[in-house]
Amino acid sequence: MPKQKQTLLDIKNLYTGFFINNELHHAITNINLTIDSGEIICIVGESGCGKSVLALSVMQLLPSVNAKVSQGEIIFQGDNLLDKSIKEMNQIRGKSISMIFQEPMTALNPVFTIGFHLIEVLKNHTDLSKKDAMSKAIDLLQQVGIPRPDKIMHEYPHQLSGGMRQRIMIAIAIALHPKLLIADEPTTALDVTVQAQILELLKDIHSKENTSIMLVTHDLGVVAEMADRVVVMYAGEIVESSTIHYLFAHPRHPYTLALLGSIPDLNHDKEKLQTVKGVVPSIQNMPQQGCRFASRCTKAFKDCTNITPELSEVSDNHFARCLLYDACYPEDSSTKKGENK
């Protein structure tokens, strides 16, 4: 890891919402996040927590009809992406930031060959001749471990397996050596053995090209495998963030604890899994006040539903959004502990 850390992406105070019946409901609120160059950061959370919306906000790929980034800044290499025009964004997407989607079948166009997809990226961003682009594309396929790349160039997405398709997506994403790779659940649709192959490939790209990776996933196993730093999201907010080792060793937020407790452990037998009662609130009925996790939290006390907790530093580079760890929480600690029982 480089000693001099350089901030590549800096998300400040980001709010993204969707219009439902002409009313703006925020899917993510107050997101502050930095990604250093050469870092792998994992965004983890359950479905509906806003992790994909965050990824799409950075790429500005949200539908302009009903979605809006209403507040905040996304600073990539010194420029605010939100100020860019569509044309400028098109230059950035695919070249400086690229994205791998969850479902490789829907992300690839079924009526075009694999070669077409690859050459399209190369031709849009560089002035390579068709012949050069062709040979570059074959190189890329080789790089991501596709057998017989010159044959596969002329095949169509449906002729390939899920793992192969995801490799094609990765080849397209890394074609122009982007600084930042956003991977939205890249292995969710794949089998474990293939998942292991794809994760290995991503690690390989990371170490060879020093690409920063923002990996969105719900699988804590994948997180432990890949991440330098983890961000746990719940109901549109960051509830905890820390380095990987620290988070797994000392999880603080009750939601993170519950999440870790609810996965079956391979090494230790648990008779009963820990569960989180209830479900994630929908974005229309998000609690306006207090902690968003309060209704499902086992450690909730009276103030949890009244006072909105801030993301506060628990220890070095470890942040949690919970009144139990909130330094600004005004009550004296004695009542806190008393109610906590």
């Binding site: 292991a196 804590l220 196993g221 080792h245």
Partner: protein, 336 residues
């Protein structure tokens, strides 16, 4: 195949009663080509499987997508008919049962499906979804039907009022609970759970897994638990069978299979599970390539094309599935 002597039911640690037995079960789907739909080959979805389930146990079935796990589940329920082989349930050979005889057996065999949205009729009230099996099978009286259904709903963690609701009003985890209530309605002996939690989030998944475990004790159920997530299967099962391309390659007690997997495929499958513990870095066996096309499976051992320890014999001779250690059966030339 020459498997008659080897397949004695000796997997159970204590001698247990066999509830279900599969004998050389096969399911081939014909592949046709041309205008006249001439048969050109077979897709061997399930190829020569011998298996027995004991009363009260959970048998986990794992494997990658397309290995035939769901086909096997459907075979047992007789939702599809086997190409050859026998299915023996509770002492009766149900392979050839038809009509009212088959209907009677189906009371004891129920299924929980993967997709909780697609498996519930969106235009039916939840109460009617759950009591449909009772109305269908129990001819006696339907006087207490509503009470019975409501207590069933409560038992799976829903509320009495949910009787009057419709599936779209529920979340994924709750819908799966409805599916479980429906499967329980007739107090079956065997429940086949085909990827019951793969569509759910982890915290919800834990709720459903806990529920399934509780119900097993209360209703004295036997589960065939089909899943691709090995940590979930380990949590649920007593014994585990690993499938690859229509074959069962290994069967063992769950502790044995995770501690000391014998078949190279099982080894790589277990090593591929992402471990939610960043402090423990384990040795990875990463398989090359994809599962071969089942229409044209490799000769000899079906796994030899991806096997890291393949020998020349593996290409030619199909390994015999046999007991190599107490309670452990493997199909691999390494152990012959």
């Amino acid at each position: 195949m020459t498997m008659t002597e080897e397949q004695t039911p000796s997997d159970g640690q204590i001698k247990k009663e066999v509830l279900l037995q599969l004998k050389n079960a096969k399911k081939y789907y014909p592949v046709t080509a041309g205008f006249f739909k001439r048969k050109v080959g077979d897709i061997k979805a399930v190829d020569d499987i011998n298996l027995e389930l004991f009363k009260g146990e959970t048998f986990g079935l794992v494997g990658e997508s397309g290995c035939g796990k769901s086909t096997l589940g459907k075979l047992i329920l007789r939702l599809i008919n086997p190409t050859s082989g026998n299915i023996i349930f509770n002492g009766n050979d149900i392979t050839t049962f038809t009509g009212s005889k088959l209907r009677a057996v189906r009371r004891d065999l129920q299924m929980v499906f993967q997709d909780p949205i697609a498996s519930l009729n969106s235009k039916m009230m939840v109460g009617h979804i759950v009591d449909e099996p009772i109305r269908n099978f129990a001819k006696e009286n339907h006087k207490n039907l509503k009470d019975e259904t409501q207590s069933l709903l409560v038992r799976v963690g829903l509320r009495k009022e949910d009787y009057y609701k419709y599936p779209h009003e529920f979340s994924g985890g709750q819908r799966q609970r409805i599916g479980i209530a429906r499967a329980l309605a007739l107090h079956p002996k065997l429940i086949i759970a085909d990827e019951p939690v793969s569509a759910l989030d982890v915290s919800i998944q834990a709720q459903v897994l806990n529920l399934l475990k509780e119900l097993q004790q209360d209703f004295n159920l036997t589960y065939l638990f089909i899943a691709h997530d090995l940590s979930v299967v380990k949590h649920m099962s007593d014994r585990i069978g690993v499938m690859y391309l229509g074959h069962i390659v290994e069967i063992a007690q769950k502790t044995d299979i995770y501690k000391e997997p014998l078949h190279p495929y099982t080894k790589s499958l277990i090593s591929a599970i992402p471990n939610p513990d960043p402090f423990e870095k384990k040795e990875r066996i990463i398989l090359q390539g994809d599962v071969p096309n089942p229409q044209n499976p490799p000769s000899g051992c079906v796994f030899h094309t991806r096997c890291p320890v393949a020998m020349p014999i593996c290409q030619e001779v199909k390994p015999i599935f046999k007991e190599v250690k107490p309670y452990r059966r493997v199909a691999c030339h390494l152990y012959e």
